[in-house]
Symmetry: C2
Subunit: 576 residues, 2 copies
Amino acid sequence: MRYSKMLLPTSKEVPAEAEVISHQLLLRGGFIRKLTAGVYSYLPLGLMALRKVTAIVREEMKRAGAQEILMPMVQPGDLWMESGRWQHYGPELLRFRDRNERECCLSPTQEEVATDLARRELLSYRQLPVNIYHIQTKYRDEMRPRFGLMRCREFIMKDAYSFDADDEGAARSYENMRVAYSRIFARLGLDYRMVEADSGSIGGSYSHEFMVLADAGEDTLVLCRDCSYAANVEKAMVAPVLASAAGVPLEELRKVATPGTKKVATVAEFLKVPPQQIIKTMIYQIERDGPEPREFVAALVRGDREVQTVKLKNLLGANEVNSLTEDQVWEFLRLPVGFIGPVNLPLRVVADSEVMAMVNAVAGANEKGFHYQGVNPERDFSVQVTGDLRQIAAGDRCPHCGGLLHFREGIEVGHIFKLGAKYSEAMNATFQDREGRQRPFIMGCYGIGVSRILAACIEQNHDRNGIIFPMPLAPVQVILLNLGLEDEALTSAAEELYQALLAAGVEVLFDDRDERPGAKFKDADLLGIPLRLTVGRTFKQEGLVELRERKSGETTLLPVDQVVAAVQARIRRELA
Amino acid sequence: MRYSKMLLPTSKEVPAEAEVISHQLLLRGGFIRKLTAGVYSYLPLGLMALRKVTAIVREEMKRAGAQEILMPMVQPGDLWMESGRWQHYGPELLRFRDRNERECCLSPTQEEVATDLARRELLSYRQLPVNIYHIQTKYRDEMRPRFGLMRCREFIMKDAYSFDADDEGAARSYENMRVAYSRIFARLGLDYRMVEADSGSIGGSYSHEFMVLADAGEDTLVLCRDCSYAANVEKAMVAPVLASAAGVPLEELRKVATPGTKKVATVAEFLKVPPQQIIKTMIYQIERDGPEPREFVAALVRGDREVQTVKLKNLLGANEVNSLTEDQVWEFLRLPVGFIGPVNLPLRVVADSEVMAMVNAVAGANEKGFHYQGVNPERDFSVQVTGDLRQIAAGDRCPHCGGLLHFREGIEVGHIFKLGAKYSEAMNATFQDREGRQRPFIMGCYGIGVSRILAACIEQNHDRNGIIFPMPLAPVQVILLNLGLEDEALTSAAEELYQALLAAGVEVLFDDRDERPGAKFKDADLLGIPLRLTVGRTFKQEGLVELRERKSGETTLLPVDQVVAAVQARIRRELA
């Protein structure tokens, strides 16, 4: 590949639209170009890097016994109605009618299509287990796509679906994929963690996410310093340490004026109580199935805690949980935000376990400028649902070993789900078991964000000069600079070296442009190619070619006839 | 690959929905499955065959200097409005609004996106020429998808776009692609023809199609027996041989009763004139740009000819030409089909050159049951447009050499277009030339129907037992049958041979199923794998493995230690 012939438009300027470093560097390095919000074209070098990802994914999926197929991106609405997701998926599912007025959607995932295929083709237990996957363009109509390839509307995903005869088989399939995913992310050279996760709109019984650790990550991970516990903050269980209230006499409920105290901190200060003594009451609108699909609920946590809405959603079996603005709460419910409390509240109340153990607490009086003191759960208000509702926080202990927890930001690049019979029961997807009975498949599904991996990799591997691709993910292994375009000896040496590298099977980008050396060095750093070879001054003076590692900055001068072998040795070492 | 572990559901039954043989065999062989009308999933073996196509396409595109990128499938309507195709493309362009109410469409081709990329990134003549391509899922909302992979709604296409500074450069780019395409189709092992073609909804100045010859083809090709002339029947020029009318006295126009003579043949019989003496008048509704986008026109051809609507469309510069039913002609125009003629007809008249040379002709009188005799063009009616309007027919001579023409059916698998400045001018896509002026790119575009090739290949290569894949397109090169699953010696020999083939890099499907020999032979034939190896009776008796060629049916018995070398030799020969 000759740089002079490539569509590889690099730029010094940081694009104004790009907030995170991977987005900036992917644009500056000419890897991608935006077509419209959340929709990108991959230019040649971007596509080469993507191909590195897909090649490793394919190898490991094959090793795990999964079979590659290709399912369509346009899907009939019928199937989604069968599974129930047509109703539940929300506006990220892009729906339209075709010219025959039939409901269709663009695939965000393929559970329905895969399940439909299984129910048609997998008739007997003797055909199981089966794991099918594909790598295909997906679409999710994100309201706010952002961060370049990190949150796109159109993106590339590897998604796999396993079909087993029973739970034990499904557990083996899940474990099989867990191992394959671990191998994939390790081979890609990424620093990642596998964490317990919420199943979200995919559903099913449990799931794990694979997170690349990076400050720009949109997810927060909870990691134990002492054991292997790791979870998404949305999911991380809290082991409540409840203060014993035995023997504390219950005070009587009394209303007190608390003018201008809308926040927990100001209430606490005004009433001279610690925030832990205050009940925080949050109003949400939830959506779910049933005769009254929309409902307002009040969620209670201790004043120093936050509601974790994913936990709320799961506790209530809701499809969606939406927070409301202050104006909406007033408009719909005539309740004054900042002074809301559970006493005499005409809404369903969901309380965190910690709240249930509070004694003589403070809570809003549902009247502007007033709170109650001496509030006691069960005596002063009733609670419909209790459980683990709060977000895990600094100071909380590991629910497994009691060890210290810490938090890291991460980018979700893989997600595996134990689906159970969720889809197979809804879609009547059955097989004949050993005894001749029809039974639903026990399923799992397994996703990898192929295009997002590129962004995650760069978030984790860059410096102020540009990208530092790990060898397995680099679009090419070597960039070769000819610094003497006007010098015949240099140019012919560089050309010979280029041909020798190609002949040895090395992936090489040959910078044969008519540009100053400074510009070539800058672009080489920006593009993040792991090994840089320079045919320049030292070659002219001493017949030596410079080999530089992008990551360490380490340089070596080599006689030209030793270059190919040295490069091959480094590549082998990095890919091992 | 072990057959027992594969999703490879073959079937003996011919599916009722499948009219053409490729559709039948692709379904019966478990290569594809229908999701909804015109939308298919590719099962493992189908995907492997597709990959063979894409690998060859990529190699040849690379050889031709084209750069692979990846453009999105969801496109903003804005760009299509800029090019004008938003208005013109018709209902095959699937349009929808995203959640932010912005107009979008699913990509049927990518001229707009490629042109947009070029105008942003190719600023100077020094960057030209550039040829970018991608292989991506496309969608065309066909009213009547049919014939399996031959006319899908969702399909896979390779599309390339070239950008040049001037016509000479564009001509070189076009020729470069013509050569690449010829190499691709030759390497795929297909019997194809390159023909002159109409540019259709892509537009531009001229185009060639690559047609795989097959009886089930939806296109008709005109081929000269004497020279290399080849064209799509839509486009094939007619060299009119006009009878000299010099000296024939013009008769006077007279109306005659012709009751019950709606067809040319019956009029001819009734009036005792040859069909060549009758003017056939057809009514069409055309759509085009301008203040009156819809118009009815009358198209005239000799009574023994047919109107070629693509020629009509091009002659009139229309976007669409629609024929009308008898009822519509009466409803809209009060004209009686069967008795329509150009005399006193209040419509724009387009006439084939042959009609202009007719003397004392017969034509409808626009009154049920009456025709005119003695009709003479220009004297009795005026004509707004004349030209080559008729469809070429048996007996016509080659427009190049006068040689005999013949007709063949073909399947369009590739189409290359000289676009000129159609898109670059509409979208203001310019570069700076050597003199510093802004000039529009001169473009070409080049498509290959990747998934359709699979269907075309099978239409051309099958027998009554199934597919006969040419080696380059075969999903795997060898199928190995173990006919003695209960016999340890046979099974271990088959297993060893399987491992030896894999180790030698041979692509092999190992039929290790617990099935009768007859079923295995039938499936091997159905799947069309070029080489079949059988470890069965002859191995038990004489230690010999049978090698059979699917195409010739020729069998050879080989000692087991010679099998790998023999297989490799055949593969090399077939891929050469």
